[in-house]
Protein backbone atom coordinates (compact mmCIF):
# COMPACT_ATOMS: atom_id res chain seq x y z
CA UNK A 1 0.00 0.00 0.00
CA UNK A 2 2.74 2.37 1.00
CA UNK A 3 4.90 1.41 -1.98
CA UNK A 4 1.96 1.96 -4.28
CA UNK A 5 1.63 5.43 -2.96
CA UNK A 6 5.29 6.16 -3.52
CA UNK A 7 5.00 4.83 -7.07
CA UNK A 8 2.04 7.04 -7.88
CA UNK A 9 3.75 10.04 -6.33
CA UNK A 10 6.77 9.72 -8.56
CA UNK A 11 4.88 9.65 -11.82
CA UNK A 12 2.83 12.12 -13.72
CA UNK A 13 -0.63 10.74 -14.35
CA UNK A 14 -1.02 8.97 -17.67
CA UNK A 15 -2.52 10.92 -20.53
CA UNK A 16 -6.23 10.50 -20.95
CA UNK A 17 -6.36 11.18 -24.66
CA UNK A 18 -5.05 8.20 -26.45
CA UNK A 19 -6.67 8.55 -29.88
CA UNK A 20 -4.90 11.65 -31.25
CA UNK A 21 -1.61 10.13 -30.13
CA UNK A 22 -2.31 6.84 -31.91
CA UNK A 23 -3.56 8.56 -35.05
CA UNK A 24 -0.52 10.82 -35.18
CA UNK A 25 1.71 7.81 -34.62
CA UNK A 26 0.08 5.81 -37.40
CA UNK A 27 0.11 8.78 -39.73
CA UNK A 28 3.73 9.75 -39.43
CA UNK A 29 6.46 8.14 -37.44
CA UNK A 30 6.76 6.38 -34.15
CA UNK A 31 8.43 9.43 -32.61
CA UNK A 32 5.70 9.49 -30.02
CA UNK A 33 6.89 6.19 -28.64
CA UNK A 34 10.15 7.78 -27.54
CA UNK A 35 10.36 8.23 -23.75
CA UNK A 36 8.88 11.49 -22.64
CA UNK A 37 11.38 13.62 -20.85
CA UNK A 38 8.96 15.82 -18.95
CA UNK A 39 8.32 12.92 -16.65
CA UNK A 40 12.00 12.37 -15.97
CA UNK A 41 12.74 16.08 -15.62
CA UNK A 42 10.44 16.38 -12.63
CA UNK A 43 12.16 15.30 -9.44
CA UNK A 44 9.91 13.12 -7.35
CA UNK A 45 9.24 13.54 -3.68
CA UNK A 46 11.68 11.77 -1.45
CA UNK A 47 9.88 8.63 -0.35
CA UNK A 48 8.61 8.87 3.22
CA UNK A 49 10.66 6.87 5.67
CA UNK A 50 11.44 6.83 9.38
CA UNK A 51 14.89 8.32 9.17
CA UNK A 52 15.49 11.86 8.08
CA UNK A 53 18.18 12.11 5.43
CA UNK A 54 20.26 14.88 7.01
CA UNK A 55 22.12 15.59 3.75
CA UNK A 56 18.91 16.41 1.92
CA UNK A 57 17.47 18.11 4.97
CA UNK A 58 20.47 20.46 5.18
CA UNK A 59 19.85 21.58 1.60
CA UNK A 60 16.12 22.13 2.16
CA UNK A 61 14.41 25.41 2.97
CA UNK A 62 14.19 24.36 6.64
CA UNK A 63 17.77 23.10 6.65
CA UNK A 64 19.03 25.62 9.18
CA UNK A 65 16.40 24.72 11.81
CA UNK A 66 17.07 22.62 14.83
CA UNK A 67 14.79 19.58 15.27
CA UNK A 68 13.22 21.10 18.40
CA UNK A 69 12.03 24.15 16.48
CA UNK A 70 9.31 22.08 14.85
CA UNK A 71 9.12 19.00 17.08
CA UNK A 72 9.51 20.56 20.54
CA UNK A 73 11.65 18.80 23.10
CA UNK A 74 10.88 15.95 25.46
CA UNK A 75 10.82 18.26 28.48
CA UNK A 76 7.61 19.89 27.27
CA UNK A 77 4.61 19.06 29.43
CA UNK A 78 2.66 15.94 28.52
CA UNK A 79 5.35 14.61 26.20
CA UNK A 80 6.75 11.13 26.48
CA UNK A 81 8.60 8.62 24.38
CA UNK A 82 6.40 6.31 22.32
CA UNK A 83 5.50 3.13 24.20
CA UNK A 84 7.13 0.20 22.41
CA UNK A 85 4.62 -2.21 23.99
CA UNK A 86 1.71 -0.32 22.43
CA UNK A 87 0.30 -2.15 19.36
CA UNK A 88 0.05 1.15 17.48
CA UNK A 89 3.77 1.81 18.05
CA UNK A 90 5.39 3.00 14.82
CA UNK A 91 2.18 2.64 12.81
CA UNK A 92 0.76 6.07 13.55
CA UNK A 93 0.74 8.16 10.40
CA UNK A 94 3.01 11.05 11.28
CA UNK A 95 1.66 13.14 8.41
CA UNK A 96 -1.80 13.06 9.95
CA UNK A 97 -0.92 13.40 13.63
CA UNK A 98 1.66 16.14 13.63
CA UNK A 99 0.48 19.36 15.22
CA UNK A 100 0.43 21.63 12.19
CA UNK A 101 -0.34 24.69 14.27
CA UNK A 102 3.44 24.88 14.62
CA UNK A 103 3.63 25.72 10.90
CA UNK A 104 1.42 28.73 11.55
CA UNK A 105 4.06 30.59 13.54
CA UNK A 106 6.09 31.14 10.33
CA UNK A 107 3.46 30.63 7.60
CA UNK A 108 0.51 32.51 9.04
CA UNK A 109 -1.26 33.63 5.79
CA UNK A 110 -0.94 30.19 4.20
CA UNK A 111 -2.20 28.50 7.34
CA UNK A 112 -5.21 30.80 7.57
CA UNK A 113 -6.02 30.30 3.89
CA UNK A 114 -5.80 26.55 4.42
CA UNK A 115 -8.27 26.76 7.33
CA UNK A 116 -10.77 28.61 5.11
CA UNK A 117 -10.22 26.26 2.18
CA UNK A 118 -11.82 23.10 0.89
CA UNK A 119 -9.11 20.75 2.19
CA UNK A 120 -9.53 21.90 5.81
CA UNK A 121 -13.31 21.55 5.53
CA UNK A 122 -12.88 17.99 4.27
CA UNK A 123 -10.50 17.31 7.16
CA UNK A 124 -13.04 18.55 9.71
CA UNK A 125 -15.67 16.29 8.17
CA UNK A 126 -13.33 13.31 8.40
CA UNK A 127 -12.46 14.02 12.02
CA UNK A 128 -16.17 13.96 12.88
CA UNK A 129 -16.40 10.45 11.38
CA UNK A 130 -13.12 8.66 12.21
CA UNK A 131 -14.47 5.13 11.60
CA UNK A 132 -15.25 5.51 7.91
CA UNK A 133 -12.16 7.71 7.42
CA UNK A 134 -9.94 4.82 8.48
CA UNK A 135 -11.28 2.70 5.63
CA UNK A 136 -10.40 5.32 3.01
CA UNK A 137 -7.24 4.78 0.94
CA UNK A 138 -4.50 7.34 1.63
CA UNK A 139 -5.14 9.33 -1.51
CA UNK A 140 -8.82 9.80 -0.62
CA UNK A 141 -8.19 11.31 2.80
CA UNK A 142 -8.27 15.06 3.31
CA UNK A 143 -4.73 16.43 3.19
CA UNK A 144 -2.88 18.16 6.00
CA UNK A 145 0.08 20.51 5.41
CA UNK A 146 2.43 17.54 5.40
CA UNK A 147 0.54 15.62 2.72
CA UNK A 148 1.33 18.27 0.12
CA UNK A 149 4.54 19.78 1.50
CA UNK A 150 7.63 17.82 2.42
CA UNK A 151 8.71 19.58 5.61
CA UNK A 152 12.17 17.98 5.75
CA UNK A 153 13.10 18.17 2.09
CA UNK A 154 11.16 21.12 0.68
CA UNK A 155 13.40 23.22 -1.58
CA UNK A 156 13.43 26.98 -1.36
CA UNK A 157 13.98 29.56 -4.12
CA UNK A 158 12.42 27.46 -6.87
CA UNK A 159 11.24 29.16 -10.03
CA UNK A 160 7.54 29.47 -10.77
CA UNK A 161 7.77 26.73 -13.40
CA UNK A 162 9.70 24.37 -11.09
CA UNK A 163 7.08 24.81 -8.36
CA UNK A 164 4.30 24.39 -10.91
CA UNK A 165 5.69 21.15 -12.33
CA UNK A 166 6.03 19.74 -8.82
CA UNK A 167 2.51 20.93 -8.05
CA UNK A 168 0.98 18.86 -10.86
CA UNK A 169 2.50 15.73 -9.35
CA UNK A 170 1.48 16.65 -5.81
CA UNK A 171 -2.12 17.54 -6.70
CA UNK A 172 -2.24 14.63 -9.16
CA UNK A 173 -1.60 12.14 -6.35
CA UNK A 174 -5.19 12.59 -5.17
CA UNK A 175 -6.68 14.16 -8.32
CA UNK A 176 -5.17 12.07 -11.14
CA UNK A 177 -7.98 12.68 -13.63
CA UNK A 178 -7.74 16.43 -13.08
CA UNK A 179 -3.96 16.42 -13.53
CA UNK A 180 -4.22 14.34 -16.72
CA UNK A 181 -6.90 16.56 -18.25
CA UNK A 182 -4.94 19.66 -17.22
CA UNK A 183 -1.88 18.33 -19.03
CA UNK A 184 -4.03 17.77 -22.10
CA UNK A 185 -5.25 21.36 -21.94
CA UNK A 186 -3.50 24.42 -23.40
CA UNK A 187 -2.73 25.71 -19.89
CA UNK A 188 -0.92 22.51 -18.94
CA UNK A 189 0.91 22.16 -22.23
CA UNK A 190 2.24 25.71 -22.19
CA UNK A 191 3.01 25.79 -18.46
CA UNK A 192 4.29 22.28 -17.65
CA UNK A 193 5.57 20.98 -20.98
CA UNK A 194 6.96 24.16 -22.50
CA UNK A 195 7.77 26.00 -19.26
CA UNK A 196 5.82 29.18 -20.06
CA UNK A 197 5.65 31.04 -16.78
CA UNK A 198 2.67 33.14 -17.91
CA UNK A 199 0.46 30.07 -18.29
CA UNK A 200 -1.68 28.85 -15.39
CA UNK A 201 -0.68 26.06 -13.02
CA UNK A 202 -3.16 24.34 -10.66
CA UNK A 203 -3.14 26.97 -7.93
CA UNK A 204 -3.44 29.91 -10.34
CA UNK A 205 -7.09 28.98 -10.85
CA UNK A 206 -7.92 26.97 -7.71
CA UNK A 207 -5.95 29.14 -5.32
CA UNK A 208 -2.99 28.08 -3.22
CA UNK A 209 -4.17 26.76 0.19
CA UNK A 210 -7.78 27.77 -0.51
CA UNK A 211 -7.96 24.88 -3.00
CA UNK A 212 -11.42 25.75 -4.31
CA UNK A 213 -13.17 23.17 -6.45
CA UNK A 214 -14.55 26.02 -8.64
CA UNK A 215 -17.83 24.15 -8.94
CA UNK A 216 -19.40 27.44 -7.88
CA UNK A 217 -19.92 29.34 -11.14
CA UNK A 218 -19.16 32.76 -9.69
CA UNK A 219 -15.91 31.52 -8.19
CA UNK A 220 -14.99 29.93 -11.52
CA UNK A 221 -15.63 33.14 -13.44
CA UNK A 222 -13.60 35.14 -10.93
CA UNK A 223 -10.71 32.70 -11.45
CA UNK A 224 -10.92 33.04 -15.27
CA UNK A 225 -11.02 36.83 -15.00
CA UNK A 226 -7.64 36.97 -13.30
CA UNK A 227 -6.06 36.29 -16.72
CA UNK A 228 -8.96 36.86 -19.13
CA UNK A 229 -10.44 40.12 -17.82
CA UNK A 230 -13.27 40.25 -20.39
CA UNK A 231 -14.47 36.71 -19.65
CA UNK A 232 -18.21 36.12 -19.50
CA UNK A 233 -20.24 33.48 -17.65
CA UNK A 234 -20.20 31.13 -20.64
CA UNK A 235 -16.41 31.49 -20.96
CA UNK A 236 -16.19 29.97 -17.49
CA UNK A 237 -18.21 27.03 -18.83
CA UNK A 238 -15.44 26.00 -21.24
CA UNK A 239 -14.57 22.50 -20.05
CA UNK A 240 -11.01 22.50 -18.71
CA UNK A 241 -11.07 19.09 -17.01
CA UNK A 242 -13.21 16.85 -19.23
CA UNK A 243 -13.64 14.18 -16.59
CA UNK A 244 -16.65 13.18 -14.53
CA UNK A 245 -14.48 12.09 -11.63
CA UNK A 246 -15.32 14.10 -8.48
CA UNK A 247 -18.02 16.06 -10.28
CA UNK A 248 -21.25 16.31 -8.31
CA UNK A 249 -24.25 14.31 -9.44
CA UNK A 250 -26.33 17.39 -10.07
CA UNK A 251 -23.87 18.82 -12.59
CA UNK A 252 -25.75 17.25 -15.52
CA UNK A 253 -24.80 20.13 -17.78
CA UNK A 254 -21.09 19.42 -17.58
CA UNK A 255 -21.73 15.71 -18.10
CA UNK A 256 -23.77 16.45 -21.23
CA UNK A 257 -20.98 18.67 -22.59
CA UNK A 258 -18.36 16.01 -21.93
CA UNK A 259 -20.50 13.39 -23.69
CA UNK A 260 -20.91 15.69 -26.68
CA UNK A 261 -17.15 16.32 -26.83
CA UNK A 262 -16.50 12.55 -26.71
CA UNK A 263 -19.02 11.78 -29.44
CA UNK A 264 -17.48 14.42 -31.74
CA UNK A 265 -14.01 13.03 -30.95
CA UNK A 266 -15.07 9.49 -31.89
CA UNK A 267 -16.76 10.64 -35.11
CA UNK A 268 -13.70 12.66 -36.12
CA UNK A 269 -11.42 9.68 -35.38
CA UNK A 270 -13.53 7.47 -37.64
CA UNK A 271 -13.46 10.09 -40.40
CA UNK A 272 -9.68 10.45 -40.18
CA UNK A 273 -9.11 6.68 -40.15
CA UNK A 274 -11.38 6.12 -43.17
CA UNK A 275 -10.05 8.97 -45.33
CA UNK A 276 -6.39 8.48 -44.46
CA UNK A 277 -6.73 4.70 -44.71
CA UNK A 278 -8.26 4.92 -48.17
CA UNK A 279 -5.70 7.35 -49.56
CA UNK A 280 -2.73 5.55 -48.01
CA UNK A 281 -3.90 2.31 -49.61
CA UNK A 282 -4.61 4.07 -52.91
CA UNK A 283 -1.13 5.65 -53.01
CA UNK A 284 0.62 2.46 -51.97
CA UNK A 285 -0.97 0.24 -54.64
CA UNK A 286 -0.38 2.96 -57.25
CA UNK A 287 3.29 3.12 -56.30
CA UNK A 288 3.62 -0.66 -56.64
CA UNK A 289 2.00 -0.57 -60.09
CA UNK A 290 4.34 2.17 -61.34
CA UNK A 291 7.40 0.43 -59.93
CA UNK A 292 6.26 -2.77 -61.62
CA UNK A 293 5.87 -1.02 -64.99
CA UNK A 294 9.20 0.77 -64.67
CA UNK A 295 11.05 -2.46 -63.90
CA UNK A 296 9.30 -4.28 -66.73
CA UNK A 297 10.36 -1.56 -69.19
CA UNK A 298 14.00 -1.88 -68.13
CA UNK A 299 14.11 -5.62 -68.65
Amino acid sequence: MNTQRIESKNRLPEKMHFWPRLLFCLTFFPALLVPQFTKAAITPHDPPEWFVNMGSFAQSAHGTFSCEKCHGDMKQSGKMHPDSENPSFLTTDALRHYNYQRCESCHKPSYEQYLQGAHAKALLKEQSDPVSTKKLPDNKKAPTCGNCHSSHYVKGHLSRVEIGRQMVITCGTCHPAQAATYLDNYHGKAAVNLGNKKAAFCTDCHGAHHCLSLKDKREALAACKRCHPDATASFAQVVIHPTIQDSPEKDQQKKAHITLIRVVTILMSILVILVVGFFYGHSFVWLLRELHEKLRRHK
Binding site: R21, F37, N196, T232, V239, V264
Partner: protein, 231 residues
Protein backbone atom coordinates in the same frame (compact mmCIF):
# COMPACT_ATOMS: atom_id res chain seq x y z
CA UNK B 1 -4.21 26.05 -93.65
CA UNK B 2 -0.46 26.48 -93.43
CA UNK B 3 1.74 23.91 -91.73
CA UNK B 4 2.85 26.57 -89.26
CA UNK B 5 -0.66 27.05 -87.92
CA UNK B 6 -1.31 23.36 -87.79
CA UNK B 7 1.75 22.70 -85.70
CA UNK B 8 0.86 22.48 -81.99
CA UNK B 9 3.06 23.95 -79.29
CA UNK B 10 5.52 21.74 -77.46
CA UNK B 11 4.94 23.31 -74.06
CA UNK B 12 1.63 23.99 -72.38
CA UNK B 13 0.76 26.39 -69.58
CA UNK B 14 -0.59 24.42 -66.66
CA UNK B 15 -0.54 26.98 -63.84
CA UNK B 16 -0.79 30.77 -63.94
CA UNK B 17 1.76 32.92 -62.06
CA UNK B 18 -0.85 33.63 -59.35
CA UNK B 19 -1.56 29.93 -58.88
CA UNK B 20 2.16 29.19 -58.60
CA UNK B 21 2.67 31.98 -56.08
CA UNK B 22 -0.30 30.84 -53.97
CA UNK B 23 0.95 27.27 -53.99
CA UNK B 24 4.36 28.42 -52.79
CA UNK B 25 2.98 30.58 -49.97
CA UNK B 26 0.48 27.93 -48.86
CA UNK B 27 3.27 25.36 -48.93
CA UNK B 28 5.34 27.45 -46.52
CA UNK B 29 2.36 28.52 -44.41
CA UNK B 30 0.93 25.02 -44.11
CA UNK B 31 4.28 23.53 -43.08
CA UNK B 32 4.72 26.27 -40.50
CA UNK B 33 1.23 25.69 -39.13
CA UNK B 34 1.77 21.95 -38.90
CA UNK B 35 5.13 22.22 -37.14
CA UNK B 36 4.11 24.91 -34.65
CA UNK B 37 0.68 23.36 -34.01
CA UNK B 38 1.90 19.84 -33.40
CA UNK B 39 4.72 21.18 -31.24
CA UNK B 40 2.05 22.49 -28.88
CA UNK B 41 -0.27 19.47 -29.10
CA UNK B 42 2.54 16.96 -28.55
CA UNK B 43 4.55 19.26 -26.28
CA UNK B 44 5.46 16.41 -23.92
CA UNK B 45 7.72 15.00 -26.66
CA UNK B 46 11.41 15.75 -26.94
CA UNK B 47 11.19 16.93 -30.55
CA UNK B 48 8.33 19.32 -29.75
CA UNK B 49 10.18 20.75 -26.75
CA UNK B 50 13.31 21.06 -28.88
CA UNK B 51 11.44 22.98 -31.55
CA UNK B 52 9.69 25.18 -28.98
CA UNK B 53 13.09 25.95 -27.45
CA UNK B 54 14.46 26.76 -30.91
CA UNK B 55 11.78 29.39 -31.60
CA UNK B 56 11.98 30.80 -28.07
CA UNK B 57 9.20 29.24 -26.04
CA UNK B 58 5.46 28.70 -26.02
CA UNK B 59 4.59 32.37 -26.58
CA UNK B 60 6.63 32.51 -29.80
CA UNK B 61 5.14 29.20 -30.88
CA UNK B 62 1.67 30.71 -30.53
CA UNK B 63 2.72 33.89 -32.35
CA UNK B 64 4.25 31.94 -35.24
CA UNK B 65 1.22 29.68 -35.53
CA UNK B 66 -1.03 32.72 -35.89
CA UNK B 67 1.36 34.38 -38.33
CA UNK B 68 1.36 31.31 -40.60
CA UNK B 69 -2.43 31.06 -40.20
CA UNK B 70 -2.88 34.63 -41.39
CA UNK B 71 -0.66 34.24 -44.49
CA UNK B 72 -2.21 30.88 -45.36
CA UNK B 73 -5.74 32.15 -45.02
CA UNK B 74 -4.68 35.25 -46.97
CA UNK B 75 -4.01 32.89 -49.89
CA UNK B 76 -7.52 31.45 -49.56
CA UNK B 77 -8.98 34.97 -49.72
CA UNK B 78 -6.78 35.93 -52.69
CA UNK B 79 -7.88 32.75 -54.39
CA UNK B 80 -11.58 33.44 -53.79
CA UNK B 81 -11.21 36.98 -55.15
CA UNK B 82 -9.42 35.61 -58.22
CA UNK B 83 -12.20 33.04 -58.67
CA UNK B 84 -14.82 35.80 -58.80
CA UNK B 85 -12.64 37.86 -61.15
CA UNK B 86 -12.14 34.83 -63.40
CA UNK B 87 -15.88 34.08 -63.50
CA UNK B 88 -17.33 37.60 -63.69
CA UNK B 89 -14.72 39.66 -65.55
CA UNK B 90 -12.86 37.11 -67.65
CA UNK B 91 -16.11 35.14 -68.19
CA UNK B 92 -14.19 31.93 -67.43
CA UNK B 93 -15.80 28.56 -66.90
CA UNK B 94 -15.42 27.28 -63.34
CA UNK B 95 -17.71 24.25 -63.57
CA UNK B 96 -16.83 22.71 -66.97
CA UNK B 97 -15.01 19.44 -67.70
CA UNK B 98 -11.62 21.20 -67.68
CA UNK B 99 -12.28 22.84 -64.29
CA UNK B 100 -11.75 21.62 -60.73
CA UNK B 101 -15.50 21.19 -60.23
CA UNK B 102 -16.29 17.60 -59.11
CA UNK B 103 -18.20 15.54 -61.70
CA UNK B 104 -19.67 12.03 -61.90
CA UNK B 105 -16.87 11.16 -64.30
CA UNK B 106 -14.33 11.53 -61.47
CA UNK B 107 -15.87 8.61 -59.59
CA UNK B 108 -15.76 6.47 -62.73
CA UNK B 109 -12.17 7.60 -63.36
CA UNK B 110 -11.24 6.58 -59.84
CA UNK B 111 -12.59 3.06 -60.22
CA UNK B 112 -10.94 2.72 -63.62
CA UNK B 113 -7.64 3.99 -62.21
CA UNK B 114 -7.81 1.52 -59.31
CA UNK B 115 -8.52 -1.18 -61.93
CA UNK B 116 -5.30 -0.05 -63.64
CA UNK B 117 -3.36 -0.45 -60.34
CA UNK B 118 -4.30 -4.12 -60.43
CA UNK B 119 -3.50 -4.49 -64.11
CA UNK B 120 -7.12 -4.98 -65.15
CA UNK B 121 -7.81 -1.74 -67.05
CA UNK B 122 -6.09 1.15 -68.84
CA UNK B 123 -5.31 4.54 -67.32
CA UNK B 124 -8.38 6.76 -67.80
CA UNK B 125 -8.07 9.58 -70.38
CA UNK B 126 -7.82 12.33 -67.76
CA UNK B 127 -8.92 15.90 -68.42
CA UNK B 128 -7.04 18.95 -67.13
CA UNK B 129 -7.52 17.88 -63.50
CA UNK B 130 -7.60 14.28 -62.36
CA UNK B 131 -9.86 13.05 -59.55
CA UNK B 132 -7.02 13.02 -56.97
CA UNK B 133 -5.95 16.52 -57.96
CA UNK B 134 -9.52 17.71 -57.50
CA UNK B 135 -9.68 15.99 -54.12
CA UNK B 136 -6.33 17.50 -53.11
CA UNK B 137 -7.54 20.96 -54.02
CA UNK B 138 -11.11 20.80 -52.73
CA UNK B 139 -10.21 19.05 -49.47
CA UNK B 140 -7.59 21.69 -48.75
CA UNK B 141 -9.90 24.55 -49.78
CA UNK B 142 -12.70 23.27 -47.53
CA UNK B 143 -10.25 22.37 -44.77
CA UNK B 144 -8.64 25.82 -44.75
CA UNK B 145 -12.01 27.41 -44.11
CA UNK B 146 -13.05 25.07 -41.32
CA UNK B 147 -9.57 25.20 -39.79
CA UNK B 148 -9.72 28.97 -40.06
CA UNK B 149 -13.07 29.11 -38.29
CA UNK B 150 -12.19 26.70 -35.47
CA UNK B 151 -8.81 28.43 -35.21
CA UNK B 152 -10.54 31.79 -34.67
CA UNK B 153 -12.57 30.18 -31.87
CA UNK B 154 -9.34 29.18 -30.16
CA UNK B 155 -7.64 32.49 -30.87
CA UNK B 156 -10.50 34.63 -29.47
CA UNK B 157 -12.33 32.39 -26.98
CA UNK B 158 -13.50 35.33 -24.87
CA UNK B 159 -15.16 37.00 -27.86
CA UNK B 160 -16.87 33.82 -29.12
CA UNK B 161 -18.18 32.84 -25.69
CA UNK B 162 -19.80 36.26 -25.35
CA UNK B 163 -22.58 34.87 -27.57
CA UNK B 164 -21.97 31.10 -27.71
CA UNK B 165 -21.92 28.46 -24.96
CA UNK B 166 -18.53 27.51 -23.52
CA UNK B 167 -18.38 23.97 -24.90
CA UNK B 168 -18.10 25.38 -28.44
CA UNK B 169 -14.47 26.13 -27.59
CA UNK B 170 -13.97 22.48 -26.61
CA UNK B 171 -15.60 21.30 -29.83
CA UNK B 172 -13.47 23.72 -31.87
CA UNK B 173 -10.41 22.24 -30.16
CA UNK B 174 -11.40 18.67 -31.11
CA UNK B 175 -12.25 19.57 -34.71
CA UNK B 176 -9.08 21.65 -35.12
CA UNK B 177 -6.89 18.80 -33.89
CA UNK B 178 -8.42 15.97 -35.93
CA UNK B 179 -8.65 18.04 -39.07
CA UNK B 180 -5.02 18.99 -38.61
CA UNK B 181 -4.01 15.34 -38.41
CA UNK B 182 -6.14 14.60 -41.47
CA UNK B 183 -4.78 17.55 -43.47
CA UNK B 184 -1.16 16.86 -42.61
CA UNK B 185 -1.54 13.15 -43.44
CA UNK B 186 -3.12 14.01 -46.79
CA UNK B 187 -0.64 16.76 -47.71
CA UNK B 188 2.66 15.55 -46.28
CA UNK B 189 2.18 11.90 -47.15
CA UNK B 190 -0.46 11.39 -49.85
CA UNK B 191 0.05 14.61 -51.84
CA UNK B 192 3.86 14.51 -51.82
CA UNK B 193 3.89 10.80 -52.63
CA UNK B 194 1.37 10.86 -55.47
CA UNK B 195 2.37 14.19 -56.98
CA UNK B 196 6.14 14.17 -56.57
CA UNK B 197 7.62 10.88 -55.41
CA UNK B 198 5.93 8.42 -57.76
CA UNK B 199 8.37 6.72 -60.17
CA UNK B 200 6.67 8.65 -63.04
CA UNK B 201 7.38 12.07 -61.53
CA UNK B 202 10.28 11.39 -59.14
CA UNK B 203 11.87 13.37 -57.54
CA UNK B 204 9.66 16.43 -58.06
CA UNK B 205 6.92 17.52 -60.43
CA UNK B 206 8.22 20.96 -61.41
CA UNK B 207 5.11 22.12 -63.25
CA UNK B 208 3.58 23.74 -60.14
CA UNK B 209 6.76 25.84 -59.77
CA UNK B 210 7.48 26.61 -63.47
CA UNK B 211 3.85 26.58 -64.56
CA UNK B 212 4.74 24.62 -67.71
CA UNK B 213 4.32 21.06 -68.87
CA UNK B 214 5.46 19.25 -72.04
CA UNK B 215 3.50 17.70 -74.91
CA UNK B 216 4.85 14.29 -73.97
CA UNK B 217 3.48 14.64 -70.45
CA UNK B 218 0.17 16.00 -71.72
CA UNK B 219 -0.28 12.92 -73.94
CA UNK B 220 0.52 10.70 -71.01
CA UNK B 221 -1.20 12.52 -68.15
CA UNK B 222 -3.97 14.70 -69.56
CA UNK B 223 -4.94 13.28 -72.99
CA UNK B 224 -8.54 14.43 -72.53
CA UNK B 225 -7.44 18.05 -72.12
CA UNK B 226 -4.99 17.84 -75.06
CA UNK B 227 -7.81 16.63 -77.27
CA UNK B 228 -9.99 19.59 -76.28
CA UNK B 229 -7.13 22.05 -76.94
CA UNK B 230 -6.34 20.64 -80.35
CA UNK B 231 -9.84 20.35 -81.79
Amino acid sequence: MSTLEKKSPETFVRFSPLQRLLHLVVMIGFTGLAVTGFSLKFSDQWWAQGFAWLVGGAAHLAWLHRFFAVITYGCVLAHIIWLFYFKLVLKGNITGPQSLFPRVRDVKDMFQHIGYFFGKRHIPRFNRFTYWEKFDYLALFLGMNTMGLTGLFLWFPVFFTSFLPGYFINLAQVLHLYEAILAVALKFVVHILTTHLRPETFPVDKSIFTGKTTRERMIHEHPGELETIET
